[in-house]
């Protein structure tokens, strides 16, 4: 029997102690811990790795702290475009969606593609139609918006640069960009 384990990430970037309040740090830590625990529980009950990663990413999409699902960043045009993918290491089957705007949980759409389609990747309206055919929840375009992400976009618009999700969380995105060379 394998030593079951789950690992998760919520994005990388210019994340420093100096730019993080104690409260915000605790919020991120609590969210990550709860989601790892959820994955551990699925694996402990004999659940599959595919089920564990699906649920972990769905929970990350539900948490507005992270750049996926609720809390996703804005495009230059002030919209949201979401992408997701997954792969089953047992069979090498894959599923992915890109550029979707109304699917509450893009990772569930990726799972639907993996399980129900001979194709690997759907984009835009076709992806949304496929997900809807498989009973996945659609939401209004503004469901994904948060005040923090909108403020992040306003700072980035001034720089005319695209920035990684956690680089523009606070301060001048140009500073963050320079840090990363």
């Amino acid at each position: 029997m394998a030593r079951a384990v789950i690992a998760i990430h919520g994005g990388a970037g210019a994340i420093t102690r100096a730019a993080m309040s104690t409260e915000k740090e605790q919020a991120y830590t609590d969210a990550l811990a709860a989601i790892v625990a959820s994955g551990q529980a699925i694996l402990a009950a004999g659940g599959s790795a595919l089920d564990a990663v699906t649920e972990a990413v769905r929970l990350l999409e539900e948490c507005p702290l992270f750049n996926a699902g609720k809390g996703a960043v804005f495009t230059h045009q002030g919209t949201h475009e979401l992408d997701a993918s997954m792969m089953d290491g047992r069979t090498l089957e894959v599923g992915a969606v890109a550029g979707v705007k109304h699917l509450r949980n893009p990772v569930l759409a990726a799972r639907a593609v993996l399980e129900n389609s001979p194709h690997a990747l759907f984009i835009g309206e076709g992806a949304e139609a496929f997900a809807e055919q498989h009973g996945l929840e659609k939401v209004a375009a503004d469901y994904f918006s948060t005040p923090e992400r909108f403020a992040q976009l306003q700072r980035a618009l001034g720089s005319e640069q695209a920035i990684l999700d956690h680089d523009g969380a606070a301060g001048d995105p140009l500073d963050a960009d320079r840090k990363l060379g």
Binding site: A4, I6, A7, H9, A12, I15, L43, L82, M87, A96
Partner: protein, 136 residues
């Protein structure tokens, strides 16, 4: 960007990745997250991988698959392959970010070349490990 990788008790690996992209990106731009082999990959023979960072660089390096290829064809360990991809190949092209990976033996690697990465892992029956900053 968010992601998860897992190994279950039957020895099966899986990976998933999801993102909203980059703030202020042009509409229609797609990064590595939905691209199998770039931002997400899993094979029971090597590893499960989920990436986050400068999407275009992860696409140009086929980062997720490259980690698995380094294990399969060059005989590198999970940690060696993960470090090679993030600290050398991605960084050499000016890419910032990291990845999470687990192999069929249950080893975990979470390298990143940026200041921080929100990350955590937990073996069944053991306390979870949660970290944010580089020095942790």
């Amino acid at each position: 960007t968010v992601g998860a990788v897992a190994l279950d008790r039957d020895g099966n690996l899986a990976a998933a990745t999801s993102t909203g992209g980059m703030t202020n990106k042009q509409a229609g731009r797609v990064g590595d997250s939905p691209i199998i082999g770039a931002g997400c990959y899993a094979s029971n023979h090597t590893a499960a991988v989920s990436c986050t960072g400068t999407g275009e660089v992860f696409m140009r390096t086929l980062a997720a698959y490259d980690l698995a290829a380094l294990m399969k064809y060059a005989g590198l360990s999970l940690q060696q392959a993960a470090d090679r991809v993030i600290m050398e190949k991605v960084l050499a092209l000016g890419g910032s970010g990291g990845l999470i990976a687990v192999d069929a033996q249950g080893n975990v690697a979470l390298p990143f070349n940026s200041e921080g990465m929100y990350r955590g892992y937990g073996y069944v029956g053991e306390p979870a490990v949660i970290n944010i900053y580089r020095e942790e």
